[in-house]
Symmetry: C2
Subunit: 372 residues, 2 copies
DNA sequence: TATCGGATTGTTGCCGGTAACATGGCGGTG
DNA sequence: CACCGCCATGTTACCGGCAACAATCCGATA
């Protein structure tokens, strides 16, 4: 917002007025008297609990931290006081003093899309189970300055770690440039080396191509996702590997951007002869668009051309025709990302057990190759 | 997790081991010497900045808070020091002392659905613009205990406010029961009184019904969303009002749950005679399912039956046939929710300017009533 | 029964920032 | 030229929790 200084939080900040308002300080009381009046709206602190229990605040802390060496009688009084006051630790204060936080910054863009939002869902659930909270930061990938600003802002939020729910090359670069001091974990699908393909995202493509080959298809078209997404590259690579490994023919890779529109336009732009009897789209939306484009060309699915997707979004089973696709468990991916980050935070060995169950779901959009 | 005590953070907590690890304390130095060594990995504090500028830390704070009465020469030194050290305020410490935080707790469930995730997207963007961060808390609506636990947990996170991205009756009840001390804002679509319909979600239904009536349709079926969602009730109500106001006939309201499956099953379960020539679904997914069910009955869309949705999800333009629907701007809804909450936080008058541009988008799923 | 040592518990100080209060310096006035 | 008052800045205290260190307490041993 303020191009000529890096300290953009200064006088241009949100809470900066001439008035320096602030909340009224609580009247100065000695530490001993300041216990909350019962009806006080302020949540109780360990000092309140300590006073109620007739012990020192440190004893309360010890109990809370799980320290064993507390005499049963004392412990009981503490427990009773905690319960009576319904004490909940103030995590802000705790973070300040321990230097550890329980927040994970989740970078995302296009969270409105099926994959990212389900990854977020899974990640949020996994984080919560581990006692963490996900702070969502949406990046505007179209504006490099805004990305830098957002990433800079992350630094003041004392996060336990940062993860990218979905990674694109731009995001990867921006994150590397930001040089975070906390652990960073790049999620989504990482780039894979060829040998790993068969175990990872590629797991489904062999099955998918086998399915099509079993129906007599010999020549295929692929509609790819945007090349800046590792996930898209992986899928394209897996497609090409699977086709080549079976001695079949790929008639081409059409560029797409995950949207139904791009799938439609890619097919609409093809010449008279498709050169293939089956279209393997890198996600369900593009498959949907492709099917519409085929129909508009007067071709029937699967009568003339078979079409497949990837993801198995809930709607895919109700497309016209219902879509044959590879089911991807995004929630599991989200969990995996969080697990990976937490391992890094705790200094445990990286888990890296990403096995996105990519399962073939056969529906009506694939059928026998036409008699020609 | 621990049913017999409300203080479930105690010895069962995540970071509680016998060891009481904690990070190593920084060696005890006097306040004056503890300035960060240049290569220190700890971010600079106002004390570091103050030392670098040769002023007291309070002067630095004053500058940061926008205080005017600083002599230009002093101010310059502070600015220079801030820039040199690339200082960023520690928001945790700031929150602790001010008692104000800049985090908003966003409650959600089913964030994987189009509406909720786009609302989240808009809300996150709006929050960030206002200097806030969205903490996402996903509720497992199927487990009342887990809901209570989650809501309790919110209390220790010192949030500036809490908002429900989408509201269902269960969520509303749970939130009311939690008795938060911070502002709470229920988003999604609130229940509306009949008079407001025409200005709110209802805005599109008159246009939609006009469109269908103009094509000759006189009798309609509605596929509703789950009755526990205010948004679903609003849409059903708006549908019924619009139909009744035109002297047309509603042949029935079928229950759905937002999914394509429910739309499909609702139509599949109908008797031989639909009793209507147009189906108005409460969202696009259910419309999609309905279209498939119609086709399986041997009915063509729009030849025999016209179908409409609500939302205009990106895929809707590529359904077979492309869907006539009401476009809803969920991102704007998200922004509105955040604005409403921020107004409440700041004690400003409630804005309540929810005008979800619900715009009719005519595509190919609606057509003239069949000649009979 | 006095002493010793580990087990318990209390006291003090710090995290990084902000607010209240205190102080030094300057100019203006009588 | 002394005094007053305001301006600019410094000093101290505190938010709520945690940890180092200090001070008790208790039982067991000599």
């Amino acid at each position: 917002m303020d191009p000529h200084t890096t300290v953009d939080d200064a006088p241009t900040g949100d809470d900066v007025g001439g008035e320096l308002p602030g909340r009224p300080r609580r009247p100065a009381l000695s530490t001993l008297q300041r216990a909350s009046a019962p009806g006080s709206d302020k949540p109780p602190t360990i000092y309140d609990v300590a006073k109620a229990a007739g012990v020192s605040h440190q004893t309360v802390t010890r109990y809370l931290r799980g320290y064993e060496g507390i005499r049963p009688a004392t412990r009981e009084r503490v427990v009773a006081a905690l319960e009576e006051l319904d004490y909940r630790p103030n995590l802000t204060a705790r973070s300040l003093t321990t230097g550890r936080s329980h927040r994970i910054g989740a970078l995302t863009h296009e969270i409105d899309k099926h994959g990212p939002s389900n990854i977020a869902q899974g990640a949020a659930a996994a984080a919560r189970r581990a006692g963490y909270v996900l702070d969502i930061f949406t990046l505007d990938m179209s504006d490099p300055r805004s990305i830098r600003d957002t990433l800079k802002m992350l630094r003041q939020h004392d996060l336990a770690g940062i993860l990218a729910l979905t990674s694109t090359d731009e995001m990867t670069r921006a994150i590397e440039a930001a040089k975070f001091t906390v652990p960073v974990y790049l999620g989504g699908e990482p780039d894979e080396t060829p040998t790993e393909h068969s175990e990872l995202t590629g797991i489904g493509f062999p099955a998918l191509v086998d399915h099509l080959a079993g129906l007599g298809h010999r020549s295929f078209l692929h509609i790819a996702g945007p090349a800046t997404w590792p996930a898209a590259r992986n899928r394209t690579q897996a497609y090409e590997d699977a086709v080549a490994a079976r001695g079949l023919r790929s008639a081409g890779v059409l560029p797409g951007d995950w949207t139904a529109r791009s799938g439609h336009d890619a097919v609409a732009a093809l010449g008279e002869d498709l050169g293939a009897t089956a279209i393997v789209a890198a996600n369900d939306q593009m498959a949907l668009g492709a099917m519409l484009a085929l129909r508009r060309r007067g071709l029937s699915v699967p009568g003339d051309v078979s079409v497949t997707g990837v993801d198995d979004i809930p709607d895919a089973a109700y497309f016209a025709p219902p879509l044959t696709t590879l089911r991807v468990d995004f929630a599991a991916q989200g969990r995996n990302i969080v697990d990976g980050l937490l391992a890094q935070i705790d200094g445990r060995p990286p888990v890296r057990s990403i096995t996105p169950h990519s399962e073939l779901v056969v529906r009506e959009s694939t059928g026998p190759v036409p008699a020609a």
